[in-house]
């Protein structure tokens, strides 16, 4: 299995001298399984360079799994060049939206309206299809099995577990650890807590024992205090998840857009020092554009 990061930034692309080491593109990961099956996780701006890299392999069969439909996870999709070339096959997988009653099939159409983009969805030349996934129901792509897991974000967000010949990884997309909406003294607090415990343990078991966990680590705990409900995790919550799940390697990603490379390394070092006990035995790294891991 091979993992490559094409975009690691949260919310908005941040090119510039401050972010050259870790990169300014928004979320996109490329996964290659043992038989070469191509899986892309999210279509942030990083997917553009992934596409350039794929041109020499065309015609391609691309499986794009979207964690959710916030802009920073889909805005590169109209620039995924293989969709304009006949002979390629692109399948977009993703969650449903109970509010609109629709699912991933509207992602391209919405972005490619004529006033926002010069080409319409109907004019795409690749063989495109869309598959709305149900939480917990695995799909097979090539020699890989992918299982979507319901996480916690302002819109429905799936984390994905990818397995192939005994190797495995998990990508959270955007995820904020669940918090109790009731104060401790409140009579509804205990029952709610019980449901949270169950939900958390379902999430942890979905990522249990993975070789690689890639997790939303947008904030420091101090920053998080003013950003509760925004839908993102902290370095500490990611390390906690990795420890609970027994992950061997953890990549912290979805870097906060105002964070320079130096600042990123500083808050990361502090997080490792703060969480020494939980971090023990886990290979913890900052995700960076261009980083490749093969195992």
């Amino acid at each position: 299995m091979k993992l490559r990061f094409w975009g690691v930034r949260g919310s908005i692309p941040t090119p510039g001298p401050e972010t050259v080491r870790y990169g300014g593109n928004t979320t996109c990961l490329e996964v290659r399984t043992d038989d070469g099956t191509l899986i892309l996780l999210d279509g942030g701006t990083g997917i553009h360079r992934a596409a350039l890299n794929l041109l020499r392999e065309m015609p391609i069969r691309a499986n794009i799994f979207l964690t959710h439909t916030h802009w920073d996870h889909i805005q590169g999709l109209p620039f995924f060049i293989p969709i304009f070339v006949p002979g390629n096959r692109v399948t977009l997988y993703g969650p449903f939206d109970p509010v609109s009653g629709s699912g991933v099939e509207q992602v391209m159409e919405v972005q490619m309206q004529y006033s926002f983009f010069p080409v319409r969805e109907a004019e795409l030349r690749a063989n495109m299809d869309y598959r709305v996934l149900k939480p917990g129901v695995s799909v097979s792509v090539g020699d890989a099995t992918i299982t979507p897991v319901l996480l916690s974000h302002p819109v429905v967000n799936y984390g994905y577990r990818i397995e192939c010949n005994g190797k495995s990884m998990f990508f959270t997309g955007d995820h904020e650890p669940h918090t109790n909406i009731y104060a401790p003294g409140d009579e509804a607090h205990a029952a709610y807590e019980e449901m949270l415990v169950r939900q958390r343990s379902e999430i942890v078991s979905a990522m249990a024992g993975v070789d690689v966990l890639v997790a939303d680590s947008s904030y420091t705990p101090e920053e998080y205090a003013t950003k509760v409900g925004w839908g993102h995790g902290t370095y500490d919550s990611s390390i906690g998840l990795a420890a609970a799940a027994g992950a061997k390697t953890l990549f912290c990603t979805h870097h906060e857009p105002t964070r320079s490379d130096d600042a990123l390394e500083a808050v990361f070092a502090a997080a490792l020092a703060r969480n020494r006990a939980a971090a023990a035995g886990i290979d913890i790294r900052l995700a960076a554009e261009g980083v490749v891991l093969e195992w």
Partner: protein, 281 residues
């Protein structure tokens, strides 16, 4: 006189507009409202709760475990999704499945949801009306027609037919056949539901010369845009020419104004899929 008496009786017969939804809308005006407050409001309304659970538990989404309550729904999907679901469900839930007038409530709902979305975007863009108020105005401006379809079905059918055959504006046909038009009926209903006066006035005046600002202007523009776009249909064939300057900086024709509203097409597509859910929920 006779008509007005019957109208008041009909207004009394209409079900209450869920207070819970009004509260949720109020709470959502403040983005910092505690999730707990929103949950409490929804959970106290058994009909709303049942509808939310029915949507979430439909096989379509295939959630891993059955959602058993509002708290549970929030644990699984988050407060933001549940809040928006409650508002959408309320809009659909107001509409009875059938009526003796043969009034197409699916297309009516589409028209209303479209007006609501457009009015909200317009309020944001023109920045002189409360977006939530504009949304409700769009959603409910034609509610008087539902009252007629339910309690004056034959007369309302006659008005619809006359309007369709002659191109006469529906509210004028209603005045001929029913004595009073749906703006009066709708305003009475909104008053009964204890909506703010601005909203009641807005419903009452929505076929008069459009105001130059505020919720009334957003509703007028939204209503005409939906008719120009033929998005849904509430039985009125008349499109009023855009008064000079009413679109402000957004444009001098309805299509231009519509194009200035980023995201409108997407919202309309969503409204479409939601209106289609009416039968199952």
């Amino acid at each position: 006189m006779h008509f007005e008496k019957e109208l008041l009786i009909a207004v009394e017969k209409m079900p209450a507009f869920p207070k819970s939804v009004q509260r949720v809308l109020e709470l959502t005006r403040n983005p910092d409202s505690a999730p707990k407050l929103i949950v409490e409001v929804i959970a106290k309304d058994p009909v709303m709760t049942a509808r939310i659970l029915r949507v979430l538990n439909s096989a379509f989404y295939g959630l891993p475990s059955k959602v058993t309550g509002v708290d549970h729904a929030v644990v699984m999907l988050g407060i933001n999704t549940i809040k928006n679901l409650a508002i959408r469900i309320a809009a659909v839930g107001m509409i009875p499945p059938t009526n003796d007038a043969g009034f197409d409530t699916n297309r009516y709902l589409l028209h209303s949801l479209g007006c609501a979305e457009a009015a909200r975007l317009l309020a944001q863009k023109l920045d002189d009306a409360d977006p939530t108020e504009a949304y409700i105005a769009g959603l409910l401006h034609d509610i008087g027609k539902i009252l007629y379809a339910l309690y004056q079905p034959r007369a309302f059918r006659a008005a619809l037919d006359r309007s369709a055959a002659t191109g006469l504006a529906l509210h004028l046909a209603e005045q001929e056949v029913l004595g009073v038009d749906h703006t009066v009926a709708g305003a009475l209903l909104a008053k009964k539901w204890e909506f703010p006066d601005t909203l009641v006035d807005c419903i009452r005046q929505h076929h008069q010369a459009p105001p130059r600002q505020g919720v009334g202007r957003t509703l007028f523009l939204a209503n005409q845009i939906m008719k120009v776009r033929a998005f849904g249909d509430a039985g009125n064939p008349e499109i009023v020419a855009l008064p000079e300057g009413l679109g402000g900086s957004l444009g001098n024709d309805y299509e231009g104004v519509a194009e200035s509203l980023a995201g409108l097409d997407n919202l309309l597509a969503q409204a479409g899929s939601y209106a289609g859910m009416k039968e199952e929920s």
